[in-house]
């Protein structure tokens, strides 16, 4: 006897539900779409394996970008770290590498990210707080001291000042005697999502996009192993958007970058393979797995259909994942270990190329060495003990996972279409579209938490009174002063005529189409600082003004 899911719903389920009602009137995804009680073969009635999934390493890459996935090499365990000065951060990196971490990920402080030196008045109170303070080549040399730059790949979360920090990294690598063709890593370099959600912009969009295409063009010829951009959904998700919006807003940004590069005369397949992506992983375990899988299918299609890509590498979504910072709670902080474990597991089941697991104390302050170690151990336990990395894309074929992958994909396409209709990501930003959508989703989540339509353990249910705060990491409050002294000494010691000369050339290049990367390298090699280079460009290009959406 064969029965359809619909028949089952009407008979067996219907009978049961009339006696024992559901514990909630309805169940929904992060974007408010209903989740059915059961998924069966009907959910995949029109579904074609070869069209939707294919095989790992082959179009549309739903099952993974590499043919061998984690059978060949595990994902890169890359903990985002950096605080205080270059010396302290260098010590933390060496500690992480000794603990078995396989790549570095540098967090910069806000002044560095926004183009102010540690001794600038705007930097007051912020030096070394959310990341490491880097103002000159001297700092970058200290940061990378004793770390073999040819062997260890480094990801740098840096955007408006990304090209300058890349120049610093390249200059430090040259000083180590490294072969630039072997230097691997990533700069985030994704300015559009800064206007939407993260806020570390400096200049208006047009000159910012030019800086980005300059890095695409320069790296293609000089730094072939470098990921020139990490197009990021992470921060928009953290700011409140849904899983489907995360994909759509990110790919809309990606389209804007690709179009800018094409306009600058590059060919898609020349730089497409160096585009990387960065997703968040929040707590809805299966929806997140579906999101990662859908992301690969969407970009593969965009690359092939919109950009006529012939090179499979340029069609792949290679991505980094970070577990959801906004899902961490200040209440009962040890619960965050469990949240992070589950999120990390989804990222692995979704086929991530690298992963950062948050530390349990990050809703309170920067993580301690102990909490960071636990976060890294979480990845190692998943990798070596859980067995989920032993076969490729193990959830494929599940009725629910496949239906959900299709649904997240369809929702993302619908949003992409809306953005396209507005005139693209940049016009959307100028009109505040993405910002408003994110605000709406964030507010909806907040209200759902307040009405208990959404339960956050330890926050709005299962609450305990005792608020035990673990030991917190603190940055030395005298750091700003020390940094100012170091910078004053540097400014005295260097050849200031050479600095003035190269800064003048950068000022001139702001109004031509000369590639800025060689100029930045020359400038940092003369020990010009990040702040000095940025103030020249600020003077020439002006500063971006936030679009108010509330």
């Amino acid at each position: 006897m064969s029965k359809s899911t619909q028949e089952w719903l009407e008979s067996t389920w219907g009978k049961a539900i009339s006696r024992f009602p559901q514990r909630r009137p309805k169940f929904e995804s992060s974007s408010g779409v209903d989740v059915d009680p059961l998924y069966g073969p009907e959910a995949l009635a029109e579904w074609n394996y070869h069209e939707k999934l294919g095989y790992p390493g082959e179009f549309p890459f739903t099952r993974g970008v590499q043919p061998t996935m984690y059978r060949g090499r595990l994902w890169t365990m890359r903990q985002y770290a950096g605080f205080a000065d270059a010396e302290e951060s260098n010590r933390r990196y060496k500690f992480l590498l000794e603990q078995g971490q396989t790549g570095l990920s540098v967090a910069f402080d806000l002044p560095t990210q926004i183009g102010y030196d540690s001794d600038s008045p705007e930097a007051e109170g912020e030096v070394g707080k959310v990341g490491v303070a880097i103002s000159s080549l001297e700092d970058m040399e200290t940061l990378t001291n004793g770390i073999p730059m040819e062997k260890i790949t480094t990801s740098m979360t840096i955007n408006s000042t990304g090209p300058i920090l890349l120049a610093l990294y390249v200059a430090a690598a040259k000083k180590q005697g490294a072969d630039l063709s072997k230097i691997g890593g990533t700069i985030q370099n994704d300015i559009l999502k800064e206007y939407i959600a993260r806020g570390t912009y400096i200049y208006p969009p047009r000159p910012s996009l030019r800086l980005i295409t300059d890095t695409f063009a320069w790296c293609k010829d000089n730094l072939p192993e470098w990921n020139t951009i990490s197009i990021s959904g992470y921060h928009m998700r953290e700011a409140g958007c849904t899983a489907a919006q995360e994909l759509a807003f990110t790919f809309a940004d990606a389209i804007e970058y690709v179009d800018a590069a094409l306009k600058a005369g590059l060919q898609f397949d020349e730089f497409g393979g160096r585009l990387a992506f960065f997703w968040a992983c929040h707590s809805n375990f299966l929806e997140e797995v579906a999101k990662f899988r859908a992301s690969r299918r969407i970009w593969a299609q965009i690359a092939k259909e919109r950009y006529a890509s012939k090179d499979p590498r340029a069609q792949m979504v290679r991505f980094h994942t970070q577990t959801g910072g906004a899902t961490l709670t200040a209440q009962q902080p040890l619960n965050n270990l469990v949240r992070t474990t589950l999120q990390a597991m989804s990222a692995v089941l979704g086929g991530t190329q690298s992963l950062h697991t948050n530390s349990y104390d990050e809703a309170l302050a920067l993580p301690t060495e102990e909490s960071v170690e636990l976060a890294l151990r979480t990845q190692q336990i998943i990798a070596f003990e859980s067995g989920v990395a032993d076969t490729i894309d193990p959830l494929a074929g599940s009725y629910y996972i496949e239906a959900l992958t299709d649904r997240v994909e369809a929702e993302a396409w619908a949003y992409l279409k809306r953005i396209e209709d507005i005139g693209g990501a940049l016009v959307g930003i100028e009109q505040g579209f993405q910002q408003r959508e994110i605000q709406e989703s964030a507010y909806r989540l907040q209200k759902m938490t307040e009405t208990k339509d959404r339960i956050v353990v330890g926050v709005n249910d299962f609450v305990t009174d005792s608020m035990v705060e673990p030991d917190l990491m603190r940055v030395d409050p005298t750091l700003g002063k020390r940094r100012a002294q170091q910078l004053a000494a540097l400014r005295k010691r260097r050849d200031n005529t050479a600095v003035e000369r190269i800064l003048a050339r950068i000022r001139a290049a702001a109004h031509t189409d000369e590639n800025t990367m060689p100029l930045f390298i020359e400038a940092v090699e003369a020990y010009a600082t990040v702040g000095e280079i940025c103030s020249v460009l600020r003077e020439e290009w002006g500063e971006y003004q936030e679009v108010m959406t509330i």
């Binding site: 912020e126 953290e238 906004a326 302050a365 956050v456 705060e469």
Partner: protein, 135 residues
């Protein structure tokens, strides 16, 4: 018959921190709670915040910061407010402010400190109860 004037609130983001989710959610919740809310946007210097408080004639100033620079920036906002003669406003704060810093933040005048996980209704109630009355 006199109609009560709605409470005017300035929500501001001091320093370089761009995490504005909390500030925007609180701004919206206070507005939905019947208040007039002015949101400054991110990257405000203490001077800009004090100037906005003065110009907008607010009774309440809420600061949100997640970068850890609260102990440096909050006192400067208070100083700038005083320098402009704005000394009768209710101050409150939100963001990532460790438990052990709360006494210091309270002492300079931030009587309400609302961390992650706060119910916005608690903030609305706090503002209603403590906002100075304006004629």
């Amino acid at each position: 018959m006199t109609q009560e004037r709605p409470i005017r609130v300035l929500i501001a983001k001091p320093g370089l921190d761009g995490h504005d989710r909390g500030a925007k959610v609180v701004a919206r919740a206070l507005r939905d709670g019947g208040m007039e809310v002015i949101y400054t946007g991110i990257r405000q210097t203490p001077q800009m915040i004090a100037e906005a408080a003065l110009q907008e004639d607010v009774q309440v100033v809420g600061l949100s910061i997640l970068s850890g620079a609260h102990l440096e920036l909050f006192p400067r906002v208070v100083e700038e407010l005083k320098a402009r003669g704005v000394d009768d406003v209710l101050l409150f704060a939100g963001g990532i402010i460790p438990q052990e810093d709360i006494p210091a933040v309270n002492k300079i005048g931030f009587t309400g400190v609302f961390g992650p996980g706060t119910d916005t209704n608690d903030i609305i109630a706090f503002v209603r109860e403590h906002a100075p009355v304006r004629a």
